[in-house]
């Protein structure tokens, strides 16, 4: 392999030559092929795309070229140059956003050392870091710098302080930290007495309370996110955020093992992230059904506020307050609309309310009003433009939220000016709604009995239009160019499956309309297609999770984590306090099963009154039920509280202990629990020791529940929060599946219920494999219940068993998944 070539693009030939000479001083043997493309043909100052293209071709030896530019037109000329070089060569050219001198030096040194193209490019793009670190705090930054708008400045200001709690989490859901997960995180953070930040790579941390800030992290599946917090409840806040991210928000999980190798789930990931790229490639059906009706075009008439008007000095503060108050009114209005609907529409509206309250607004408004003295309306308009630009640049699912943002803007403008906000027209006759894109607030007033279908110009398969259309059972086509140029009343035929939109269909075409094909939400009880029963429960981490679990049709709770009531407390909560908390959860599931896990402290969840903080290896230390060795009283009191709470409610309470390794521990726990008055007692299977001795343990307890996250981590000896080891701590690892199979067999032989309550249960295909291995109940984040339930209902128990056999026989996690999918279809 020959060294990567380097091209220095500058306005000034003298600058380029001097910078190259400086860089070459760092190499001993002449360095890589390097060329300057600087100045215009006649020797003047400037850049020339044709010369850049020639320089790229000159230094390429087949292993690629890194291009470092100075400023302004150099960047545009370099981009244009890529249109002039051969298409084969374009793929191995990297235009690097590096400071000119530092970047050139870094690129030359790395290229001379024989590094590959992307390593050279990465080194160059990070070349400013040493200077930033050196000058760090002194360089400050203007408050209106782009980064400040997403809360980065605040976070940076806090950076020198050591956080009170830190953790890392790997993004696992296919769509990444897009707007909805971002608003879920931003929604829970204010509930803690802590300042929480998130960070990815070397970029400055952003506030976890800012959905827009989180969105700018552009964290896709597999991204390692650092969570840090300061404050009294730092630990609990970090743990909650970590759990949310690691559980994938109940959305479809990505296959993180198959980096580079195409797989079914990657294909889905591409589909989910594709909308920004596929813009303009034609209409796409996103919600099935073929209907005919007259068009009603949704028109948005918001006029741009005057840019020339300036406020008098003494009105600036009042203007800022007025704008903030307008945003708050809009947020309250979104929440009221959210409360009037359910399901996805509610979630989406709640997310939009959070968007209206985002701190990024204030950050963008203040300099515009205080310094530029713009009117509140104009400042709102420009701030929205900036935020929309940030979303568009983030691309993919973020870009699809621009419509929501502009809806917030329009409503804030209406609130400021006192005008009527734009919206869906009221109609009595059936119609097909046509719009550039729909905002969540539009869809609330949409009556699915009158609206027949939706056609939009913008949007992709995961846009709100698509999500909401599917929920309402309305056929929908997104990405149909020029749709809004249709005249109201025009008859169109819409096919939400093929993406077809036929204008003025003739009689033959009209006859093909088949009406609406609805896909009802999954309703339990969970079972395979041939009636093999599988209980689908929800994981619950705090009373606030309960409403969602009920709404999603959970058959009770498969894992009730009780830590929420203990974490960040200096002393143990009293029995009456515990009883009150537990009852809140039990009361939501009358006559249904709630599986309670006793306190799982230790390791990553330390408690001052219970666990040691000086263990060399906390994951292998005194955690879970082991804390009762020294402090049995805490467990005794918790069991008493659970038993008392159970007496007041009709829910069927099962209780299990975490971190069981031996039969003796199981016997001891079972005795304590039964002694406290618990009727149904079980243990978690999280250690290989417990899995291997499952049949003996089942002789002592009434049920077991497999915690796949810990079982994977202990079986593969890989910390599951380490991104580098994500392939090992993968629930598809055949060794893990074989251990689960042992537990399943023991369960079948002894007629003992075997549950799974880790992330594994939330992945539909893996859920089917677990059922095939003998698991009788799955517990997951509430959102996963419908996809998992639907998938199971399509499969026979024999198919699940065949898939399980194929997966356990595979040689690695990737192969296991492929083998199972080949059978599951």
């Amino acid at each position: 392999m020959s060294p990567v070539g380097v091209v220095a693009v500058s306005h000034s030939p003298a600058l380029a030559e001097a910078a190259i000479a400086l860089a070459l001083e760092m190499t001993s043997d002449g360095g890589p092929a390097i060329a300057a493309a600087a100045g215009t043909a006649d020797g003047g100052t400037g850049t020339d795309a044709a010369r850049i293209a020639a320089a790229i071709a000159e230094v390429d030896s087949g292993d690629g070229v890194v291009v470092i530019m100075d400023l302004g037109s150099a960047i545009m000329s370099a981009e244009l140059a890529l249109e002039f070089v051969d298409s084969g060569l374009v793929e191995r050219v990297r235009l690097v956003a590096a400071p000119f001198v530092e970047g050139l030096l870094a690129a030359v040194v790395r290229a001379a050392g024989g590094a590959a193209l992307d390593e050279v490019a990465e080194e160059a793009s990070g070349a400013l870091r040493p200077k930033l670190e050196h000058l760090g705090g002194q360089s400050g930054g203007r408050s209106d710098e782009p980064g400040a708008e997403n809360g980065a400045a605040d976070a940076q200001a806090n950076e020198p302080d050591v956080p009170d709690a830190e953790a890392q989490a790997t993004v696992r859901n296919v769509a990444g930290l897009h707007a909805r997960p971002a608003s879920v995180i931003a929604g829970i953070v204010p509930g803690f007495d802590a300042e929480v930040t998130l960070a990815v790579g070397d970029r400055p941390p952003v506030s976890a309370a800012s959905p827009i800030g989180i969105a700018t992290l552009a964290a896709g599946p597999g991204t390692l996110v650092r969570i840090a917090a300061r404050g009294l409840q730092a630990g609990a806040a970090v743990e909650e955020v970590r759990r949310l991210i690691e559980e994938g928000f109940g959305e479809e999980l990505a296959d993180l093992t198959a980096a580079g190798a195409p797989s079914a789930s990657e294909a889905t990931a591409t589909a989910a992230l594709a909308p920004a790229e596929r813009r303009g490639t034609g209409p796409l059906g996103v919600s099935a059904g073929r209907v005919i009706g007259p068009v009603v075009v949704l028109r948005r008439s918001v006029s741009e506020p005057d840019a020339a008007e300036r406020l008098p000095e003494d009105e600036l503060e009042a203007a800022l307050a007025e704008a903030a108050e307008a945003r708050e009114r809009v947020a309250v209005d979104y929440e009221a609309r959210a409360a009037s609907v359910s399901g996805e529409r509610r979630t989406v509206l709640e997310a939009t309310a959070a968007m209206a309250r985002d701190d990024a607004w204030a950050a963008g408004m203040e300099p515009r009003i205080r310094r530029s003295r713009l009117t509140p309306a104009r400042a709102t308009w420009e701030t929205a433009d900036d935020l929309a630009g940030q979303y568009r640049r983030a691309g993919g699912v973020f870009a699809e939220r621009v419509t929501d943002l502009l809806d917030v803007r329009n409503r804030v403008l209406a609130a400021i000016t006192g005008e009527q906000p734009p919206g869906v027209p009221e109609r009595r006759e059936p119609y097909i709604l046509v719009a550039d894109d729909l905002a969540p607030a539009d869809t609330v007033t949409l009556d699915p009995a009158i609206c027949l279908a939706i056609v939009t110009e913008q949007g992709g398969p995961t846009s709100h239009t698509a999500i909401i259309a599917r929920e309402l059972g309305l056929p929908a086509v997104v990405g149909r160019a020029n749709a809004t140029s249709l005249v109201d009343g025009t008859l169109v035929l819409v096919d939400g499956e093929t993406g077809e939109v036929l204008i003025d269909p003739d009689a033959t075409a009209q006859a093909t309309a088949t009406g609406v094909l609805t896909t009802p939400p999954f309703v339990g009880p969970g079972a395979t297609s041939d009636g093999h029963r599988v209980v689908l429960g929800s994981n619950v981490g705090a009373p606030r999770d309960v409403a969602r679990a009920v709404e999603r049709g959970a058959e009770g709770v498969g894992l009730f984590r009780t830590e929420f009531c203990f974490l960040d407390r200096d002393i143990e909560p009293s029995i009456p306090e515990q009883v009150a908390e537990y009852r809140q959860v039990f009361a939501a599931f009358p006559d249904q099963r709630v599986v309670v896990r006793t306190l799982d402290a230790g390791s990553d969840k330390p408690l001052p009154f219970l666990t040691a903080d000086d263990e060399p290896n906390p994951a292998l230390g005194v955690r879970g039920v082991r804390t009762a060795r020294r402090n049995p009283d805490v467990l005794e009191r918790q069991l008493a509280a659970i038993a008392e709470a159970a007496q007041h409610e009709t829910a069927e309470i099962w209780v299990m202990a975490p971190m069981i390794a031996t039969l003796a521990e199981t016997q001891e726990f079972a005795a304590r629990a039964r002694g406290a008055g618990i009727g149904t007692v079980g243990v978690m299977i999280e250690t290989p020791a417990a899995a291997l001795t499952a049949s003996e343990l089942m002789g002592v307890v009434d049920f077991v529940s497999i915690g796949t996250n810990d079982l994977a981590q202990y079986t593969l000896a890989a910390d599951r929060v380490l991104g580098d080891l994500a392939d090992l701590a993968d629930p598809w690892q055949p060794a893990l599946l074989r251990l689960i199979g042992l537990v399943g067999e023991a369960g079948s032989a002894t007629a003992t219920p075997v549950g799974v309550c880790g992330e594994a249960a939330a992945e539909p295909a893996l859920g089917a494999v677990l059922v095939g291995l003998g698991v009788t109940s799955l517990s997951m984040a509430a959102r996963a219940i419908t996809p998992v339930g639907r998938r199971l209902a399509e499969l026979s128990i024999d198919t699940c068993r065949s898939a399980a056999a194929a997966a356990t026989a595979a040689s690695d996690a990737h192969g296991a998944r492929e083998a199972a999918l080949a059978i599951l279809g």
Binding site: T40, S77, A308
Partner: protein, 212 residues
């Protein structure tokens, strides 16, 4: 009054644009000295001089050939940001026009819009960023609207010229958000954008040749 612009007409358009640039070189540079690096006038004058030499040396047989020559010549001779921007504009206009020897109003509007899209892709400018986009985009919106309403070539280009001038004037109070002028922040307000000003000249030239 002709309904199409022929190859000859395109060359006269370029000649007229060049004449206007030459006439206003000092003015454009003065505008640029207020908010940029004082080279827009001289850069454009050098570029258009090179264009007319090239076009004179090897006359093109089709529109795509002509505009490719114009675009590549601007790219290699202008030097500043206007090089890749105007260069991309003409390259895309040529690609969209195709191997034809004349364009009617609709075809011309479509080709110019392809040019605008090229400028947006290259410069990433949006409305109100105080760039050539602020003259170019309204000009083409006006031209499209006129064509859709059945206007003649002359009327459509006149509408584009007027909209470009209005767009140019509207850049005065704006704060620059792209290019070197953006480093000036608030101080860039109160000056016309040089790029928008030269773009308005381009449409003055176009309206002139279609009216002739």
């Amino acid at each position: 009054m002709s309904t199409t612009l022929t190859l000859d007409g395109f060359v006269r358009w370029l000649e007229s644009f060049r004449a206007r640039i030459d006439e206003q070189t000092a003015y454009l540079t003065e505008l640029d000295s207020a908010i940029g690096d004082a080279d827009h006038g001289s850069n454009m004058a050098r570029g258009m001089a090179a264009v007319m030499t090239k076009v004179g040396e090897s006359p093109a047989a089709t529109a795509d050939e002509l505009f490719k020559t114009v675009g590549m010549t601007l790219v290699t001779s202008v030097g500043g940001a206007s090089g890749p921007l105007y260069g991309t504009f003409f390259l895309r206009v040529g690609m969209a026009a195709g191997p034809v020897s004349e364009c009617d109003a609709a075809a011309l509007a479509a080709a110019l819009r392809a040019g605008l899209e090229g400028v947006v892709a290259r410069g990433k400018a949006e409305a109100g960023d105080k760039t050539m986009f602020d003259a170019l985009s309204p000009a083409l919106d006006a031209m499209d609207a006129a064509v859709a309403a059945g206007a003649s070539l002359e009327e459509a280009t006149a509408a584009a010229r007027d909209a470009a001038a209005t767009g140019r004037d509207a850049t005065e109070p704006l704060v620059a958000r792209k290019g070197r002028a953006s480093y000036l922040g608030e101080r860039s307000a109160g000056h016309l954008d040089p790029g928008a000003t030269s773009t308005a000249l381009l449409f003055e030239a176009l309206a002139e040749v279609t009216a002739a």
